[in-house]
């Protein structure tokens, strides 16, 4: 792993300290642009912004526990065609893990990108976040402070997104990692710098003070991951108990309005032309009647069950569990839990952890000669 450094924070102004650090990246030309969460003028929302002018770094809000879009998609838009300049992206762990997956499918080019990750305590729904701000509460100040001991709690009356509560990846790898767990972050924030970025920084005359990291960080992270893994296993168990057969599955998904929002929000669903939006699913009028004739009646519009199952069979091996599918669902269907529960089994089948390593080929793009024998029942 990379080198450890410390960022001093004065008067508890974490964002300010981070702003000064990252602004220097721009000023010194370590990178030529930074993609970073920035507060909107209304104050209620935080969005990703691509910053070129160092002065525009005012109002950045990279610690805000909200995630309006999956920035892996943004990384794809940015890097896939003719990006010659170096760009740093400030991201949450699930966004980096999604980028790792997308790069395997040739949808992100990592060459000009530097990935900067931040310890993630979990995120709130965009609407909840707006409410928290409206109430005049920097509710998340407590969240961030709680991270020192791994005891982050949502402000009263709010809860983290379900996908975040069961996410065992508050941390993953990046070119720079901003560490909050295990640190009294109103005074200091840990930094772990990867070799590639460090080289670039040195070249531009930017060096960070090397320092020993927090001693308790390892233990705090272990506890957080354990807590979330426990919650994850409980959630899986509950879901499995609920969805035992086809009838139960259909009941659970009966309020699906077939808007395809889950697919639009999903960072892994990258197909430019999804089969569900092609002529394949534009059936002839008489065809509908033939189906209705066979079954007596059919649900309209058709192809609801098949949509979920096919989407799953296409991308569940790479599902990193960000849960934005569920956040995007107008019927609040447990899509994220479905994908994670099923994903656990399928990913295990191939000993695959999505987002773990860019050099690990995704299960759908590779095979082993000796596997999945007929006798095993898998096929």
């Amino acid at each position: 792993m990379g080198r450890q450094a410390i960022l001093r924070v004065s008067e508890g102004r974490r964002e300010e300290a981070l702003k000064i650090l990252l602004r220097r990246f721009l000023e010194k030309g370590v990178v030529e642009a930074i993609l970073i969460p920035k507060r909107l003028p209304s104050g209620e929302g935080v969005v990703q912004s691509l910053i070129r002018d160092p002065a525009m770094m005012d109002g950045i809000s990279l610690l805000s526990p909200t995630m309006p879009v999956q920035s892996a998609r943004v990384a794809s838009y940015l890097s896939i065609k003719n990006l010659s300049k170096r760009v740093a992206l400030v991201l949450k762990a699930c966004e980096i893990r999604a980028i790792v997956e997308l790069s395997k499918f040739l949808q992100v080019k990592l060459d000009s990108l530097f990935l900067i990750g931040v310890d993630c305590p979990g995120t709130f729904e965009v609407s909840d976040y707006a409410k928290m701000v409206e109430k005049g509460k920097d509710g998340f100040e407590e969240v961030i402070r709680g991270m020192e001991k791994g005891e982050e709690k949502p402000p009263e009356g709010f809860s983290f997104r379900k996908a975040c509560e069961i996410c065992e990846y508050p941390v993953t790898q990046g070119d720079l990692w901003i560490q909050l767990y295990g640190y009294a972050s109103e005074r200091e924030i840990g930094l772990e710098i990867g070799e590639r970025l460090e080289r670039e920084m040195k070249e531009k005359g930017l060096e960070l003070e090397e320092a020993e990291g927090s001693k308790q960080r390892g233990e705090v992270l272990r506890q957080v991951i354990e807590r979330r893994s426990r919650k994850r296993d409980e959630t899986f168990q509950e879901f499995r108990a609920k969805v035992k057969d086809l009838g139960a599955f259909l009941d659970l998904f009966s309020t699906c309005v077939r808007c395809h929002n889950c697919m639009v929000a999903c960072p892994i669903c990258y197909c430019k032309e999804c089969v569900f939006r092609t002529a394949v699913f534009e059936h002839e009028g008489d065809q509908f009647l033939r189906w209705a004739d066979r079954k007596g009646a059919i649900r309209m519009p058709t192809d609801t069950l098949i949509f979920h199952l096919i989407r799953m069979s296409h991308m569940v091996t790479s599902c990193i569990g960000c849960g934005l599918c569920e956040s995007a669902c107008p019927s609040r269907l447990p899509v994220a839990i479905l994908f994670r529960t099923v994903g656990e089994k399928i990913q295990k089948l191939f000993d695959y952890v999505p987002g773990r390593d860019v050099n690990e080929p995704p299960p759908v793009a590779t095979f082993k000669e000796e596997e999945l024998k007929i006798e095993s029942g898998a096929i």
Binding site: V275, K295, L305, I306, M312, S313, V342, I346, F350, I379
Partner: protein, 140 residues
């Protein structure tokens, strides 16, 4: 239920299993007529969407036939089909429906008898399972 005749949709690869099915015919192998064959160039061309569409529309079973591992005319199509089918069956198993109605089998061009035996066996198994409940399900 005694007179239930299952309907099987089969996706067979051109180079091995389809030719094997042909051989079963020319060598007068007997097998039940419960199968409707769809001819593809490779088992690797079978998307899970074909399999599910057949099942949701009420087919009682889906058979995918390809070349034996190592024998694919396109080198690796059957290995990819194998993973795809394993993923789909894994999903259905986790959700508690239908996975045992899907069979992937390796049958070469010279194995007419194996083709006939496979269909016979599959029909037997499907008869035990009974009709696919999705056939009557209007709300999928």
């Amino acid at each position: 239920m005694g007179d239930f005749e299952p309907r099987i949709i089969a996706f067979l690869c051109h180079w091995c299993t389809y030719t094997g099915a042909d051989l079963a015919g020319t060598t007068r192998q007997q097998y039940p007529p419960n199968i409707r064959i769809i001819h593809l160039m490779c088992s690797g061309a079978v998307d899970s969407i074909y399999i599910l569409k057949a099942l949701i529309d009420g087919a009682d079973g889906v058979l995918i036939g390809g070349c034996h591992p190592g024998d694919c005319h396109y080198q690796t199509g059957n290995y990819k089909a194998r993973r795809r089918v394993a993923i789909l069956k894994g999903i259905l198993k986790e959700l508690g429906f239908g996975e045992d109605r899907i069979w992937l089998r390796w049958i070469s061009a010279s194995e007419g008898k194996l083709f006939a035996d496979t269909v016979t066996k599959m029909v037997e198994e499907l008869k035990k399972m009974g009709p696919n409940p999705m056939r009557r399900l209007w709300n999928a």
